[in-house]
């Protein structure tokens, strides 16, 4: 490894390291505009000039363009280099407006910093400045082209890194323009990163524009809980509300970027409609009164009907503390539950995924970027976990081959091979592809288990004729790949798929490949929920209990079954029948409106929380601010009311786990820290494999990996014949597949006003062949007969999806909750065109 001396400090770095990077490792931050660690070097801005004193290069050179070589001696402080950089800044400022006070970037602007630190203080240029027309780029990003210094970071990120082609660089020389062909909403779901990486104020965060300067904000590390990846964010709060979220660097998880769902998904915490006061039968009461009412009613029920007349439902969007408190209470009090999943099969799939995630197989998003073949089964990255798509794109850019086995019309921002097969065929295709990709010789050597599993698994012969060619090319590519990752979803797949994905990962390992296994889970903390799930009742069993009168009270801790449960009719009847519905939540869910007692809980931003992402990475977010209703809301835009009080207005919200202790044990609450500590103790003592969780600030930057792999013998006996028979008799039916969309289906982000502007209106996707058979055209309106009535929705006829399926988004604007159980099939007669 070459050694270099920079400003009298010596450092040894791997071959290929740029001088600017070596300096950074020494703690010397050479100025930069165009260089970005994720985007690489282009040498466009010239501000990273340093002087090379010894070695293969001499004189002033760009430190971002030159690889470290032995014998180099570099000075960043040499007079000539300093002067050079000063001129660079001066010429970049020729055309740049001198109006930082009205620019929203001011305060965190790299150009501002460099202008000051570079020593360009006096303006000499007196000519006219070049000006541009700005464009409308949609609700998330504001454009101010006059501020551009032509570093090309935006177009490189947008096109090369992220794979979207509606923003880029036009014209040339002094007229170079960064923007779109025409005004319009940016197509990529990663656009917020433009605001993060542009070194000046060309792109700024539109929803939070002019709300404050960076130094006005309380900025704190936070986590995104809008999907199961758990990307790192920085939350900016001011005047008692979070107003902006940015990407926070994480080596293992999201790198430098996040998706727009994550960036703008936090508005549920600040909306004016968020319920801030406790309610009894819809009437605002003091928190203490509501707690007392809940406690007394629960006690009465225990007396009259026994503790098991009370049941609890939690969720995967709560922090581990609340999930665990629910479990602790149920155990101690003899209440039923908790259940954290809406249906048993989903709970089962998540449990399998969690228990089969062998620590040697689990890979992070970052590791996945380095793989040379990825096979995705039953997952739709861009819609379920957008940053996964971005990571996969990096693998693809480095030559990785990507295959997706999924019935839905999958779009990814890069080239990949799609095998659109029905959910019941996913297992077969996965198996066939992997079988075609491993060397039988190596498997034979690997031992009996692997050999037998290999022997009986279906081979490429099962692949439909139309997909034969694609599949055999794919199998070859997988075979050539050394680092292979299997990505497996848990939503649309059959119950056996997650385990089968693990088995095939093991098979690949037996064939001497470096293998990764990457599951997607339904919610941010589904992993935690799964660790806490033993043999408790499922939600449908709770409903049964209510139906036959055994269960009389339901406690909903941060779960809204009216959004999530697939059988609304049954739910309505059950809720009607209850003696007591207690709801704890932090947004205006439908369940809140039905609650006899409602307690307003704190969000991640006011309460902090521990979340375990889909690869078992336990991460924590501290509080971003102390809570309370925002000044803007209590003052109605004016000065807040001049009323004396010791509490924060609207500060009645508490962490759900605190309310839970209070409604079960008593009024007195200890301070936050204390409850949290004792909870963490309880978790460590009772929940294997969770260790003692250190205080948040001690949790390492990248969290800690939890593994609950249960050492089940890796290969299970798949009844392949049954798998093959599953498709029989389905020729005349269409499977209803419920799916996520990037915007519009995920519960928390569906409360975000800026993201609502990006939602597509719901549509039912079906294969063009099926549409033709039904006499439907793209854009027609159809009525689909489900178990409990019809849904009316527009048709999207697609070529790139499985036939025999109708894909419906779990969209907030679509009443899809009319399904009794899954898998749900409808016949062709059940789908009728609505004449308009």
């Amino acid at each position: 490894m070459p050694k270099i001396i920079i400003d009298n400090h010596e450092i040894e770095v791997p071959e290929g390291t740029k001088v600017i990077e070596a300096a950074e490792q020494l703690g010397i931050m050479i100025p930069r505009f165009c260089y970005h660690p994720a985007l690489g070097s282009v040498g466009a801005c010239r501000v990273c000039a340093v002087k090379f004193l010894e070695g293969p290069f001499k004189g002033v050179q760009m430190s971002c363009m030159i690889d470290v070589k032995d014998g180099m001696i570099v000075s960043t402080t040499d007079e000539e280099a300093v002067e050079f950089r000063q001129y660079v800044i001066e010429w970049l400022m020729l055309n740049h407006p001198h109006d930082c006070p009205v620019c929203d970037e001011g305060g965190h602007c790299l150009l501002q910093d460099m202008t000051i630190s570079g020593g360009h203080g006096m303006r000499r240029y007196l000519g006219l400045k070049r000006t541009y027309r700005d464009q409308y780029l949609g609700p998330l990003v504001q454009h101010e082209m006059n501020r551009c210094i032509h570093c090309y970071r935006c177009s490189r990120f947008y096109q090369e890194f992220a794979g979207y082609f509606d923003l880029g660089v036009m014209q040339s020389a002094n007229r170079t323009y960064f923007g779109r062909f025409k005004d319009g909403i940016l197509e990529s779901p990663f656009t917020g990163n433009l605001s993060d990486i542009c070194p000046t104020g060309v792109y700024t965060d539109r929803p939070s524009r002019f709300f404050g300067r960076r130094w006005d904000y309380q900025r704190s590390p936070s986590l995104c809980i809008n999907c199961s990846l758990g990307c790192h964010t920085t939350a900016s709060a001011r005047y008692r509300e979070v107003v902006r979220q940015e990407a926070r660097y994480s080596e293992a998880v999201n790198g430098y970027f996040i998706c727009d769902r994550g960036r703008h998904g936090f508005h549920y915490a600040r909306n004016e409609t968020r319920p801030r006061r406790a309610l009894i039968e819809g009437r605002e009461v003091s928190t203490e009164e509501a707690i007392r009412a809940a406690r007394e009613k629960l006690a009465e029920l225990v007396k009259s009907a026994g503790p098991d007349s009370i049941a609890c439902l939690g969720s995967g969007r709560s922090g581990l503390e609340t999930q665990a408190m629910l479990k602790q209470l149920c155990q101690e009090k003899g209440w039923q539950g908790p259940s954290y999943f809406m249906d048993k099969s989903l709970a089962g799939k998540v449990k399998t995924a969690v228990s089969r995630l062998d620590p040697e197989l689990a890979v992070s998003l970052h590791q996945l970027e380095g793989s040379d073949a990825i096979i995705v089964v039953g997952a739709d990255p861009i819609n379920e976990a957008p940053m996964l798509a971005l990571a996969m794109r990096q693998a693809q850019r480095h030559g990785g081959k990507i295959a997706v086995v999924d019935p839905r019309p999958i779009f990814l921002p890069f080239d990949f091979t799609h095998l659109p097969v029905r959910p019941d065929e996913i297992n077969l295709y996965l198996s066939a592809l992997i079988k075609g990709a491993v060397d039988p010789q190596l498997i034979a050597e690997a031992g009996k288990g692997a050999a037998e599993f290999y022997q009986v698994s279906p081979s490429l012969e099962i692949v439909a004729d139309s997909l034969q060619e694609k599949a055999s090319i794919l199998a070859q590519e997988l075979r050539a790949g050394q680092k292979v990752v299997i990505v497996c979803g848990t939503q649309i797949v059959r119950e056996t798929t997650p385990a089968l994905a693990a088995d095939h990962a093991q098979l690949l390992r037996a064939a001497k490949k470096q293998v990764g296994l990457f599951y997607l889970l339904p919610q941010a903390n589904s992993f935690g929920a799964s660790l806490l799930t033993g043999d408790e009742v499922s939600f449908s069993e709770i409903l049964e209990g209510i139906e036959d009168g055994r269960v009389k009270s339901l406690i909903l801790a941060e779960n809204d079954p009216f959004y999530n449960f697939h059988d609304r009719q049954r739910l309505d009847l059950a809720i009607e029948k209850l003696d007591l519905l207690v709801v704890l939540d932090y947004f205006e869910s439908a369940a809140v409106k039905k609650a006899q007692v409602f307690l307003p809980t704190s969000t991640l931003y006011e309460g902090g929380g521990i979340f375990i992402n889909q690869e078992g990475r336990l991460q924590a977010a501290p509080k971003a601010y102390l809570g309370g209703i925002s000044i803007a809301q209590i003052g109605g835009g004016n000065h807040p009311p001049r009323v004396y009080g010791r509490d924060i207005p609207g500060g009645e919200v508490r962490a759900a786990h605190q309310f839970l202790t209070q409604i079960s044990n008593g009024d007195q609450i200890e301070d936050d820290d204390h409850t949290q500590r004792s909870l963490l103790r309880w978790i460590a003592d009772n929940i294997t494999p969770l260790p003692e969780i250190p205080p948040f600030d001690e949790l390492a930057e990248n969290g800690m990996r939890i593994s609950s792999s249960d050492n089940t013998p890796p290969y299970f006996a798949v009844k392949w014949q049954e798998e093959k028979d599953k498709g029989n008799g389905l020729e005349d039916s269409l499977e209803i597949i419920l799916t996520d969309w990037t915007f519009g289906t995920e519960e928390l982000s569906s409360f975000s006003p800026p993201l609502r502007k990006l939602e597509r209106s719901p549509c039912a996707s079906m294969h063009t062949k099926d549409a033709a058979r039904l006499g439907l055209d793209h854009g027609d309106k159809v009525k689909i007969k489900l178990d409990e009535g019809d849904v009316e929705v527009d048709v999207c006829a697609e070529e790139n999806m499985a036939s025999g399926a109708i894909v419906l988004p779990r969209h907030r604007l679509l009443e899809w909750q009319k399904i009794k159980s899954f898998p749900k099939f409808v016949s062709y007669e059940d789908v009728k065109k609505v004449s308009t």
């Binding site: 082609f165 036009m170 040339s172 062909f181």
Partner: protein, 167 residues
């Protein structure tokens, strides 16, 4: 999410479109043809309109922005209507030493337009170009892709008059 360009008014005539589509189908990396396709469409209409950019994009399975990036980079793709004669005046170093500026001043004065403009009768457009490789004939200009040089004011006047007469 390739946007499906839905053009309410398709510009390229059917035959030309088919010809281009055939050429595109015949090569391995269609986008290599983008400049040729832009020229073909421009030759037909005299310039490359917004709609034409979108049609070229559709033909080549590129986004309109990708086409625009190239269309606006190249000097000889005109994104606005131009006159019957497009005069490109070389402004690179040799021509500049040989009197490019007085040539340009004269042209501007005579035609009554600045660089980037077209005479009101639609006859002449005046545009700069960087070195066209005729430094030995500096100062040089291009008129509708034909080179003229070395030029003097008199020669230039003759050329303009001839072109006007021919038009």
């Amino acid at each position: 999410m390739k946007c499906n360009v839905d053009l309410t008014y398709a510009m390229i005539p059917k035959e030309l479109k088919e010809l281009l589509a055939r050429q595109i189908a015949g090569i391995e990396h269609p986008r290599e043809l983008v400049v040729d396709v832009m020229f073909a469409v421009q030759d037909h209409y005299g310039y490359l309109s917004d709609e034409a950019v979108e049609e070229v994009a559709e033909l080549l399975d590129m986004s309109p922005l990708e086409v625009e990036q190239l269309a606006t980079f190249y000097t000889f793709i005109y994104r606005e209507p131009v006159g019957k004669y497009v005069i490109h005046v070389c402004d690179s170093v040799i021509c500049w030493m040989e009197g490019h500026e007085s040539l340009l001043d004269h042209l501007s004065g005579k035609l009554g337009i600045n660089l980037g403009e077209t005479t009101s009768d639609g006859m002449f457009s005046l545009l700069p170009v960087c070195c066209i490789g005729y430094c030995d004939r500096a100062p040089a200009i291009l008129i509708n892709k034909k080179v003229y040089g070395p030029l003097t004011i008199e020669k230039l006047n003759d050329i303009l008059e001839r072109l006007r007469a021919e038009a």
